[in-house]
């Protein structure tokens, strides 16, 4: 079980959280103008990296807020977490 540092609540066990998919996915700015490839890329295509992965989590059984985390998908080690709207760490 992971120990996940919520940016607001500190380190809490994984059971308190829900994984919420990849972070920094941006919906097409002008939906009516977006073509099928753009929609497919936004809705379905995923990086699915073996290694560093920026992802969203939600502290459902805590503060209830979303935040982002950078996790290594090979070791599952979380490098850092940060608040929504902040840029991913380099």
């Amino acid at each position: 079980m992971l120990l996940i540092p919520c940016p607001w609540c500190g380190k809490r066990p994984e059971l308190e959280f829900r994984h919420a998919g990849p972070a920094h996915l941006v919906r097409p700015a002008d939906p009516a103008a977006a073509d099928d490839d753009t929609w497919a890329a936004y809705l379905y295509i995923r990086d699915n990296p073996k290694g560093r992965h920026a992802e969203r989590w939600r502290h459902v059984h805590g503060c209830g807020r979303f935040f982002n985390a950078v996790r290594d998908t090979v070791t599952d080690r979380i490098a850092t977490t940060y608040k929504p709207g902040e840029a991913p760490p380099a």
């Binding site: 992971l2 994984e14 099928d36 497919a40 809705l43 995923r46 990086d47 699915n48 073996k50």
Partner: protein
């Protein structure tokens, strides 16, 4: 095309097994010969299959047996059948909701029924019945819908009352005050289990006998493309290998491999755990699945209960998983089968499954000329092994999708014509 049967074993050379050969080797302790060759890679092949699991080996076998393409290499970074082929709960069934899925999985089930004879190797397919439990009104309606849809497609599936379910599977607790009350069940009698290692070995043996090179400990590190964009071969840890056609059959690592050809995939890789109990005398006559409580259970011929559940909640390439996910499954199993509470668990492990947005596989050509992909089987790929290999071999040989594979192309994520088995299939997600 889809009805084409695998040729009988007479079509390829290879030692056959008999009672006498078993007896002789038992008495004399004479070692068994290797069942497939382990050659060094040649500089070039007609087709390279990346991934030596059941699907990849089956693809190589059908390429040789049905399409006459024998200059084939199967490249496996570890050992054959050491990935998800050796890590699943070996459940076989074809009672999928949608016509496209039902046709594909039924094609596989029909091949399972004669696979041991066709390959001359006992894969221990046992049609002991797969029973899916309904625990609430939604389950009842959903499973009855499956029963009707399957029967319209000519696939056996029948509805059982709780008493009938218990008669079919005596350890099941159907008391009305159970934690997970059983309101009924859908039973596919032709469903069952097979021996997963034997499936990989049988296909490897058959493919090797027909000239396919099975190359283990050979990891693909790059996919080479020519000036026109078409694939020309791969770089591996055992040197470069050229081929005009490459089939990627790499389950959880598909995204990593396709990235080498500059392609991003509609896939996410999750750990899926399974575990076995200590061996006990025969107690569990069938396979029982419960989608609602995320539990599958059957008993292996060794006597171990083989148990699986849902995927872990976050994408990962670590071949393990969180203990609380297995614990959730075990809690449900103990409620459904109170007599299993005192059993101790022997081993647990995880495999990395590649999950698509619609929980249906992707089988077909890609925008990169010469590059084909067979992936996205998610949590339920084992049951499809023969059918998957069969239609993928036909797709690679012809360059266009086999009719059964056609609905499962990559372009469905652009056109929106998804085959949404997410809520429909009795698969935990």
């Amino acid at each position: 095309m889809s009805d084409r049967q695998t040729p009988a074993r007479a079509s390829f050379p290879g030692a056959t097994f008999s009672v006498w050969s078993l007896l002789r080797r038992t008495l004399t302790a004479e070692p068994w010969p290797a069942q497939w060759r382990s050659p060094d890679p040649q500089p070039a092949y007609d087709v390279i299959i990346v991934g030596g699991g059941g699907h990849g080996l089956a693809t190589a076998h059908y390429l040789a047996a049905e399409h006459g393409i024998r200059k084939v290499a199967v490249l496996e970074k570890g050992w054959i059948g050491g990935g998800n082929t050796g890590r699943n709960t070996t459940i076989i069934r074809s009672n999928y909701l949608w016509d496209e899925s039902a046709a594909l999985y039924e094609h596989a089930l029909k091949l399972w029924e004669t696979l041991s004879q066709a390959l001359g190797y006992n894969v221990m397919y046992s049609a002991r019945g797969v029973m899916m439990l309904a625990h609430d009104e939604h389950d009842v309606r959903s499973l009855k819908r499956h029963v009707h849809a399957n029967r319209l497609n000519g696939i056996d599936n029948e509805w059982l009352s709780p008493a009938q379910a218990q008669a079919f599977c005596p350890p099941l607790d159907i008391s009305p005050n159970a934690r997970h009350p059983v309101l009924g069940a859908a039973l596919q009698r032709r469903g069952g289990v097979a021996r997963h290692d034997a499936v990989a070995w049988a296909y490897a043996r058959a493919a090797s006998a027909q000239g396919v090179d099975i190359i283990e400990s050979c990891e693909v590190t790059a996919i080479r493309r020519g000036r026109n964009g078409a694939v020309t071969g791969v770089e591996t840890t055992r040197g470069p290998i050229a081929a005009p056609r490459i089939g990627v059959v790499a389950a959880g690592h598909t995204s990593v491999l396709m990235d080498m050809a500059g392609m991003r995939m509609p896939l996410e890789s999750f750990p899926l755990q399974a575990l076995v109990s200590e061996p006990v005398k025969p107690v569990m006559p069938c396979v029982v699945m419960s989608n609602t409580v995320h539990a599958y259970v059957s008993q292996s011929d060794k006597g171990e209960l083989v148990i699986g559940g849902g995927t872990d909640i976050y994408p990962s390439y670590a071949q393990r998983g969180a203990l609380h996910v297995s614990a959730h499954t075990l809690e449900a199993i103990c409620e459904l089968f109170p007599r299993f509470r005192r059993l101790r668990m022997l081993r647990s492990w995880g495999g990395i499954v590649d999950v698509t947005p619609d929980r249906s596989p992707i089988v077909g050509p890609t925008p990169v000329p010469g590059l084909f992909v067979n992936c996205g089987w998610g949590t339920g790929g084992f049951k499809a092994t023969p059918g998957s290999g069969h239609v993928f071999a036909a797709t690679i040989a012809a360059g266009t999708p086999h009719p059964l594979a056609a609905p499962f192309g990559l372009d469905r994520f652009r056109t929106g014509r998804l085959i949404d088995e997410a809520a429909a299939a009795a698969v935990a997600h």
